[in-house]
């Protein structure tokens, strides 16, 4: 049995003129114990999808189930079994760390003591601040507390909506380590994020954009499907280099990527050499030119452009 299934889910919101489509007929499945990522920018429909799966919203069309239960018919039962951490890591800023956790525990008719084992790894990191008000915690700490709150009733499926947005790189990394540990305890985790680099940490990911799923696969599977050879290009004047590359006929795409540009050529066999020569003619120096493996972000951009074309 799959932990989560979505079958032809569609959701629109009324707006002046024509309704806005938040989700266009999407389907996917998440297996038991999987760490499943929903990767996409703001406005891709991630939050709407989470709300439908956590029974907070009704889809216009399609069916969905969580833990084998229908999200419409059995919503009460689902509410006992899922853990949910909404976008802004909902906590009460005027309650202390401990009070927040206790509140969410009692909400699910359990207690901190009963399920302490489950949150122990996370909670020990914030326990020394347990008398502090949640509003006075840093972003990373709030995020850990919110995760503890979502876990305290031992859910079988955990939904985390953008848990790492606005959190610095260090806290993000630690957070993903925590998720990995949780997965080891048999909890199915569905997590959304706008950070493409986090996709590689999931078992499988869905790449979403404007309410559509562009692809679903393991991170490796997605990267393998990239299809063309990706070249990393570096030279002395990076910004001019990008402009020069983009003007070349042989270049299919060129995107800056940190300290290098990622380039795809139209004709894979001949072009790289030709391009290199012509760039040298234009006076660029200090060349580094080598093929690399595509990242999820490369794949995402490729899927975006091929869809828009």
């Amino acid at each position: 049995m799959n932990a989560v299934t979505a079958h032809k889910i569609r959701k629109t919101f009324p707006a002046k003129g024509k309704p806005t489509v938040a989700l266009e007929t999407i389907s996917f499945e998440v297996g038991q114990g999987e760490l499943f990522g929903i990767i996409g920018p703001d406005g891709a429909g991630k939050t709407t999808l989470f709300r439908i799966l956590t029974t907070l919203m009704l889809a216009d069309e399609g069916t969905a189930s969580v833990d084998g239960l229908d999200v419409v018919k059995d919503f009460k039962e689902i509410r006992k079994r899922v853990g949910y951490m909404p976008g802004k890591f909902s906590l009460y800023p005027d309650l202390s760390v401990e009070e927040n956790l206790r509140f969410f525990a009692t909400l699910f008719s359990t207690s901190i003591e009963e399920n302490y084992d489950l949150v122990k790894d996370i909670y020990v990191q914030i326990e020394k601040f347990k008398k502090r008000k949640a509003g006075a915690l840093s972003g990373g700490m709030k995020q850990k507390l919110a995760l503890s709150c979502a876990l305290i009733h031992k859910p079988s499926v955990l939904f985390l909506d953008e848990p790492t947005t606005g959190v610095d790189a260090v806290s993000r990394k630690e957070f993903w380590e925590l998720l990995r540990n949780l997965q080891g305890q048999g909890i199915t985790i569905v997590v959304s994020t706008p950070y493409m680099d986090e996709a590689s940490l999931c078992d499988r990911v869905a790449l979403v954009q404007e309410g559509r799923i562009m692809d679903i696969d393991s991170p490796k599977g997605i990267v393998d499907k990239f299809g063309s050879t990706l070249w990393s290009v570096k030279a002395d004047r990076m910004y001019e280099l990008m402009k020069a590359l983009r003007e070349m006929e042989d270049v299919a795409s060129c995107y800056p990527f940190g300290q290098e540009h990622h380039v795809v050529f139209k004709d894979e066999t001949a072009s790289p050499e030709k391009v290199k020569r012509s760039l040298m003619d234009q006076g660029f120096a200090d060349f580094k030119f080598h093929p690399i493996e595509a990242s999820i972000e490369d794949c995402f951009m490729k899927l975006m452009t091929s869809h828009n074309a």
Binding site: L56, V82, R102, F103, S109
Partner: protein, 368 residues
């Protein structure tokens, strides 16, 4: 059950830790009672009164002397006949007229009973009442002193008449009015804001996704404000009795019971607002414009309902505070029993059930 009690506890934490709001909640009734109580009751001293003595005998002269020697009144002498009364009032030369009927002393001595008419200018009802009370007291004093003599079996009645505002709207009426206002603010506005705040913070999402029954969420939200309200009701009543000397004439248990009924009405309204409003500002705006303003303007507390244009009178029937105001005024100020107010109580109870039903029905178990 533990789930529920901790939920209530958590609501108390919210209320308790928000010191500024707490101060407003408890300070407001105090402020309002004191402002309305003292600012609106002007002290009476050397007020000009007119005397129309149609009898001109020893007793009337003695009473007039008593009046004149009190520090409250200055006597304006040029009242020759009933016809002079109206112009004197109109021009504001007098605020009160004391009228002795013809043959006052004869009536008193042969019939053992005589009446003095007191006419007050009730455009300012507080002052008029005070004046009449003082005048009556002076007359009673006189009578008591006479009783000290061996034989004085006579009784003087004072008959009072209020000009321009015969029912004396607005005298002690601010007490029930303030009560309605405070309950509106505490219950309706605070409850709606506290629910909407959870929507804004996103905690409502988590709560909805938990197995807790939505009606319990609502009730848990209401309980702290219900308790706060009882504290406020008690403090308003105590202040009225001990600071403002407004006595509770009727049955205290009945009065408190009715106040609690109104508290529930207002809580239901607050809940209704929270289901419509998406942000705290909207909730506050709806509470102020939709509840607070009608309470002040249409309940009969500031402006007598009878004097309003007919359409407004009709609308005022929809304002729960109007019924509450009527009930409290009658029980607390006039000391009437339940048999006189059961109809109004029934209307209020009906409204409460209606609002409660609608708002519970509207409280969604999902977003959107």
């Amino acid at each position: 059950m533990k789930q529920f009690t901790y939920f209530i506890k958590k609501e108390f934490f919210h209320v308790w830790r928000d010191k500024r709001t707490l101060l407003i909640l408890f300070g407001m009734p105090l402020m309002q009672i004191l402002v309305f109580g003292f600012a609106l009751t002007n002290e009476v001293k050397n007020t000009k009164i007119g005397v129309l003595d149609n009898s001109k005998d020893e007793t009337t002269r003695a009473i007039i002397e008593e009046l004149e020697s009190s520090r409250y009144f200055d006597i304006y002498r040029s009242l020759g006949s009933n016809a002079d009364l109206e112009p004197a009032f109109r021009s504001g030369k007098i605020k009160l007229a004391v009228i002795f009927p013809e043959n006052f002393q004869d009536q008193l001595h042969h019939g053992n009973k005589a009446s003095i008419q007191l006419i007050g200018d009730a455009t300012d009802p507080n002052i008029a009442t005070t004046l009449i009370n003082y005048a009556t007291a002076v007359i009673m004093d006189y009578q008591r002193n006479m009783r000290g003599q061996p034989v004085y079996p006579y009784t003087i009645n004072t008959e009072m008449r209020m000009l321009y505002n015969p029912q004396l709207k607005g005298s002690y009426n601010f007490v029930p009015g303030v009560m309605a206002m405070v309950l509106m603010l505490v219950c309706a506005m605070m409850t709606s804001i506290s629910i909407v705040r959870e929507k804004e913070m996103g905690t409502m999402e988590v709560i909805l996704v938990s197995p807790i029954v939505p009606i319990r969420v609502v009730i848990a939200k209401m309980i702290p404000y219900f308790i706060l309200s009882t504290v406020n009701i008690a403090s308003i009543l105590l202040l009225s009795v001990y600071v403002l000397d407004v006595p509770i004439q009727g049955n205290l248990a009945l009065l408190v019971g009715l106040c609690l009924l109104f508290t529930v009405t207002v809580l239901a309204l607050g809940l209704l607002i929270s289901s419509v409003a998406g942000s705290q500002q909207v909730a506050m705006l709806i509470s102020l414009m939709g509840l607070f303003l009608p309470t002040v303007m249409l309940s009969g507390f500031m402006f007598p309902v009878e004097n309003m244009p007919i359409p407004l009178q009709v609308v005022s029937n929809l304002v729960p505070a109007k019924w509450f105001y009527y009930i409290v005024k009658n029980v607390m100020i006039k000391g009437l029993g339940f048999e006189h107010i059961w109809k109004e109580t029934l209307i209020l109870a009906g409204m409460t059930c209606f609002f409660m039903a609608v708002s519970l029905r509207k409280f969604k178990t999902r977003l959107e």
